[in-house]
């Protein structure tokens, strides 16, 4: 399975890049015009994130520079070092379901501080990439139709976030 997952990492993007335009051309889609048309949205998406990421990156960088981050991690480290989980990624696991921009900024900060190919940098990438912002999803989807009692939806979401966090650490141990 390890080999299959590594092959997937290597081949997923080239396959997407070749197969999608090929199939589309076969179906008589004007591939280049369509590409340009869709690509416009990418620019807006990237620009729209700027205020969120600047706000969160500022706060997290200050938090790290003040020494508060090291102190916080020093407290929780003994609890998790036995499990093989680097304490540095714990705040990311807690932020992930609450704020998408905050956790993206935190993951960025970890990648910047420890390097993208360090274990911490990789775990941060996988944690951030493998789940969604549960509180946001609940608010948007249920808010849109006026649901006031979400029943067990939040519990299920948070449970799957917690499982996802440990699964991300496990997957990085397994594959790197």
């Amino acid at each position: 399975m390890v080999a299959a997952l590594n092959a997937l990492s290597a081949w997923a993007i080239p396959m997407f890049i070749v197969l999608i335009p090929l199939v589309a051309a076969f179906r008589k889609v004007p591939v280049y015009e369509t590409f340009v048309d869709g690509a416009k949205d990418g620019f807006q998406t990237a620009i729209a994130i700027i205020p969120h990421l600047v706000g969160m990156m500022t706060a997290i960088s200050m938090f790290r520079a003040s020494g508060a981050m090291d102190m916080l991690i020093g407290w929780v480290a003994p609890l998790f070092s036995g499990l093989g989980i680097p304490a540095e990624v714990l705040p990311l696991g807690l932020l992930r379901p609450i704020t998408g921009a905050g956790s993206l900024a935190f993951a960025t900060d970890l990648i910047k501080t420890y390097g993208p190919d360090s274990l911490i940098g990789r775990i941060a990438s996988v944690v951030q990439g493998s789940t969604d912002t549960t509180l946001y999803v609940v608010t948007v989807y249920f808010g849109a139709v006026g649901i006031r009692n979400a029943r067990y939806a939040l519990k299920v979401g948070l449970f799957s976030d917690a499982v996802g966090f440990f699964a991300a650490v496990f997957a990085c141990w397994l594959l790197f």
Binding site: V29, D37, G42, S61, P97, G121, Y141, N149, F170
Partner: protein
């Protein structure tokens, strides 16, 4: 909540910075953090532009629709209380397949349409039905094949193999989605066994306590 987290981090930074004699570094970090925020977003432009273009081709050429047809049997199993030809299922499929290929922007409107359709099957419009909870569980777990944003960020910080997180991400997201589905099923089953459905007090006069068939307010009326 986000407001408090943000304020807390900034407040504590200044407090700890003063206590540790690092107030100068805190000030510098504020500006360098803001700069990183902008640099990272600019770094995202290249990959997002490229990826959104590619995914538009997938959408227009009907590849996304094909993908959703493949998932149809699974979705029917996950939503047993939605009638087979109900429009909600179509929106659910579009929502899930857009998520799968990383089209978050297209996924959300589809998910909301699906919720609106599910709301039509809801006897008590203020309380979520099991189908709605299942859709939410799938969206919070969000299976994505290619985590483009993270790959772009890794590329910006000089990763030797930015894409090598695809495999572990897929593994982690498969496990968390499995957990979400299992938990969702468990709650559904517990409810069917007749545990009290925990009806909330209805807060708003807009929604009069309409015809919730006693005991099982989550089932659509038989006529549907």
């Amino acid at each position: 909540m986000v407001n408090w987290i943000w304020l807390g981090m900034i407040g504590l930074s200044v407090l700890f910075g003063a206590a540790n004699g690092r107030i100068q570094q805190v000030t510098e970090a504020a500006f360098s953090g803001a700069q990183t925020g902008v640099t990272v977003c600019f770094g995202l432009i290249s990959i997002l532009v490229f990826w959104m273009g590619l995914m538009k081709i997938a959408e227009v050429s009907g590849i996304v629709r094909r993908l959703s047809l493949l998932m149809a049997p699974v979705v029917r199993w996950l939503f047993p209380d939605v009638p087979k030809d109900h429009p909600a299922l179509g929106y659910i499929l579009s929502n899930l397949s857009a998520n799968l290929i990383g089209l978050g922007n297209a996924a959300t409107p589809m998910g909301i349409r699906a919720m609106q359709e599910l709301q039509k099957l809801n006897a008590n419009p203020a309380v979520a039905t099991p189908a709605m909870c299942t859709l939410l569980a799938l969206n919070t777990a969000s299976i994505t094949i290619v985590p483009t944003t993270l790959i772009a960020i890794r590329m910006n910080f000089g990763s030797a193999h930015p894409a090598d997180i695809i495999g572990p991400t897929l593994l982690a997201t498969a496990i968390s989605t499995g957990a979400a589905i299992a938990a969702d099923r468990w709650y559904r089953r517990r409810q069917r066994r007749g545990a009290p459905p925990m009806l909330p007090p209805i807060h708003s006069p807009v929604h009069p306590p309409v015809a919730a068939p006693s005991g099982q307010p989550d089932r659509p009326p038989a006529s549907l």
